[in-house]
């Protein structure tokens, strides 16, 4: 009986999906009563973690759409959930967004229906991670850089180059950097090495840190092998890195503004900087499922993400940057101009945003090393090979 009920529900769902499939809506109708969002942890807060951070309650009251959140911890999980169906929106990062577009899991967005679209940062409006052939597949949500975090007791002046974490040297306090620096425990860190080489070995001809041919890739791995000798432990969990800065004597590492803000909040002697080589970063987009059952509420939520206290408060909460520049200064939430600058708002041009490396790449004649090899080779590098 239960199985029969399940089949019925599934059939009903499929029918309701097909009814909406593929149709880009022309106008926002009546609220359906709910909207279901796949999001990163901490992205959609209703004041339950900290009562000062709430950007859901008011939306629910005003629109009549109940917000359901399903958190996902990796981009792969997000893609898998969207493939499964049953969700209206997803906050997709750059390595997931194009996969979703290519897999036809998300639908084009009619930006004319989103009143606050003109307020979106011009630098993000046509970003290649959500705009394909001039068609918008989403609304920018948040972005953030991977900054260089350092200990202010050791560095009286901010380090100007990523050199401190890539090459053996003495730090300003006269002691070597070996054992006192960290690097990210994920294959995408190869891009950080490539970015360093882009500035220091121009003869390699690297155009983008995510598009590396065999020679460039090999050079990046060689640099990382040298770095292995300097790094005691690689970081993958923000709170472990925070602990390592406090208890493990780590003084410099690539990091997120999130950790920097938390450590500063604990009155720890840390600072962060954008080194001269530039930084890598991430940018997330709210995208709408191709078979969204609640398109009206979905559009209302997308408008809400741009026009409410969300951009301002979330950028404080997450240590990120709003997609609406006004949110830094208009007092809609707790963010300030200084806060945005600390999170790297003015350094957009220095950021190489994360995309998944594939063999197809414009800058190296479609002969790039794909991501799955980044994974296995980075495991080797960490293992000392």
């Amino acid at each position: 009986m239960q199985a029969f009920m399940k089949t019925c529900t599934a059939l009903a769902l499929i029918l309701s999906f097909t009814a909406h499939a593929g149709a880009q809506i022309k106008e926002i109708g009546k609220a359906e009563g709910q909207v279901t969002i796949v999001a990163w942890p901490g992205y959609i807060e209703r004041g339950e973690t900290d009562k000062n951070f709430d950007w859901v309650t008011k939306f629910e009251q005003a629109s009549g759409c109940k917000v359901n959140v399903k958190t996902a911890n990796t981009s792969d999980e997000m893609v898998a959930l969207m493939n499964e169906g049953g969700f209206d929106l997803v906050t997709a990062s750059g390595d997931a967004s194009l996969r979703l577009v290519a897999g036809k899991r998300v639908q084009p967005i009619n930006v004319d229906l989103i009143k606050s679209w003109p307020n979106v940062d011009d630098r993000l409006k046509n970003a290649p991670w959500h705009t394909v052939d001039g068609v918008h597949y989403g609304v920018p949500y948040m972005w953030g850089p991977n900054v260089l975090m350092y200990n202010t007791n050791v560095f009286k002046e901010a380090p100007t180059s990523w050199k401190v974490v890539f090459e053996p040297m003495d730090l300003p306090d006269g002691k070597p950097n070996a054992g006192r620096v960290q690097a990210y425990d994920g294959p995408i860190h190869i891009a950080d090495a490539a970015q360093y080489l882009m500035a220091h070995k121009p003869e390699l001809g690297i155009k983008s840190p995510y598009e590396l041919n065999e020679d460039q890739y090999k050079a990046a791995l060689d640099l990382l092998r040298e770095q292995r000798k300097l790094v005691g432990r690689y970081w993958h969990d923000a709170f472990i890195q925070i602990d390592d800065f406090k208890n493990e004597g780590v003084v410099a590492s690539g990091s997120w503004p999130f950790q920097v803000n938390l450590l500063k909040g604990e009155k720890q002697p840390v600072g962060s900087t954008f080194p001269e080589e530039g930084v890598t970063g991430w940018a997330d987009t709210t995208m709408m499922s191709v078979d969204s059952a609640n398109p009206n509420c979905a559009y209302m939520w997308m408008e809400h993400t741009l026009s409410s206290n969300l951009q301002s408060d979330l950028s404080v909460w997450f240590g990120a940057n709003p997609s609406v520049p006004a949110a830094c200064t208009d007092g809609s939430g707790q963010q300030t101009k200084e806060g945005c600058s600390a999170n790297g708002f003015d350094n957009f041009d220095k950021v190489h945003f994360w995309t998944t490396p594939t063999t197809k790449c414009a800058s190296q004649n479609d002969a790039c090393v794909p991501y799955y090899r980044w994974v296995s080779d980075y495991i080797g590098v960490i293992g000392g090979r």
Binding site: D185, R233, H236, N247, E248, T359, G383
Partner: protein, 320 residues
């Protein structure tokens, strides 16, 4: 008097009882095999479909390969993926994991034996209760909390370093940490740290089987050995140890297999070098290299297969 009258009034063949449940009960009584079938069907289905089925799906995946160019899975039978396992960096991971599992097992056995011996021979009454509580208590708190606590204990500026500093023993720690392989910047970023935490976390699984085995060793055998003039060392070697061996091996199956599969501890404590579990985790993720991840998971299955076969020969399962 009235009961005998009641019995006398009914015939030997009772009338059929009414109701669905009673009818069912009668059917089971007449057909014992039906009952057996119904009782066995769910566990057999579980074991056959859910457990073995997924295991075979996994094995099947390991015979596929990933296309070098596009990164897509090539669903044709090949041994190429197993060939990749033999690459030096992948061999490193397997050797590292097996060596760690073996050393954790040996150390756990050495630490657990005296504790288990005390509990089996000397502890009585409330001491016995205290022993069980002491051994089980760590299992009641979350595994993650324990590991994070150890991170703080072992950190460069942590409790252990502080204590050694007060005891003027910092030189000892520094000397140990300067050793290759087991050393590092601090205990929490060295294999020594990973090893200590593994031993701590899996120790209860070693103590309990050894204690059970020791309790079954008759006390008069030990006394007889002493009466016949054996030294305590000889008694241990020739009487106690061989009789406790099945328990030690049973415990070692737990510690060995648990260490072999763990991927949380080496992520938090250690120098970030991968263990098999971590390799599987990162290969099946964004990399989408499920064939290699599956091939990696076959390694612990094979290692444990050999281990269990050896354990059986040593008599670890005789008591089951």
């Amino acid at each position: 008097m009235s009961t005998s009258a009641a019995i006398a009034s009914t015939s030997a063949v009772l009338p059929r009882r009414g109701g669905v449940l009673n009818a069912l009960s009668d059917a089971f009584w007449r057909n014992p095999r039906l009952l057996l079938f119904l009782m066995l069907a769910p566990p057999v289905l579980w074991l056959g479909v859910v457990y073995l089925g997924s295991l075979f799906a996994l094995l099947l995946q390991s015979f596929f390969s990933i296309d070098e160019f596009s990164g897509l899975i090539n669903r044709e039978f090949t041994l190429k993926t197993y060939g990749e396992l033999l690459l030096p960096s992948n061999m490193d991971i397997m050797i590292r994991t097996v060596v760690m599992a073996a050393s954790v097992t040996i150390a756990s056995a050495i630490v657990a034996f005296p504790i288990a011996y005390f509990a089996a021979r000397y502890a009585r009454g409330k001491w016995k209760a205290l022993f069980y509580l002491g051994v089980m208590l760590p299992l009641w708190s979350s595994y993650l909390v324990k590991v994070y606590a150890w991170k703080l204990i072992l950190a460069k500026e942590g409790i252990l370093t502080w204590a050694l500093d007060k005891l003027h023993l910092t030189w000892l720690l520094d000397a140990w940490l300067s050793l290759p392989v087991v050393g590092g910047n601090s205990l929490s970023v060295s294999f020594t740290g990973t090893f200590i935490v593994f031993v701590y976390v899996w120790l209860p699984f070693m103590i309990l089987p050894i204690q059970a085995a020791l309790e079954r060793v008759p006390g008069n055998l030990i006394e007889a050995s002493a009466d016949l003039g054996a030294s305590p060392a000889q008694t241990f070697r020739n009487v106690l140890f061989p009789l406790a061996l099945p328990g030690i091996i049973a415990g070692s199956i737990f510690t060995f297999s648990l260490t072999l599969g763990d991927y949380i501890i080496p992520q938090i404590i250690g120098n970030s070098q991968y263990f098999i579990g971590q390799a599987v985790y990162s290969l099946q993720g964004t990399a989408g290299n499920i064939p290699l991840a599956a091939a990696f998971t076959v390694v612990p299955i094979v290692v444990m297969g050999i281990y269990l076969w050896m354990a059986r020969r040593m008599g670890a399962f005789d008591a089951l």
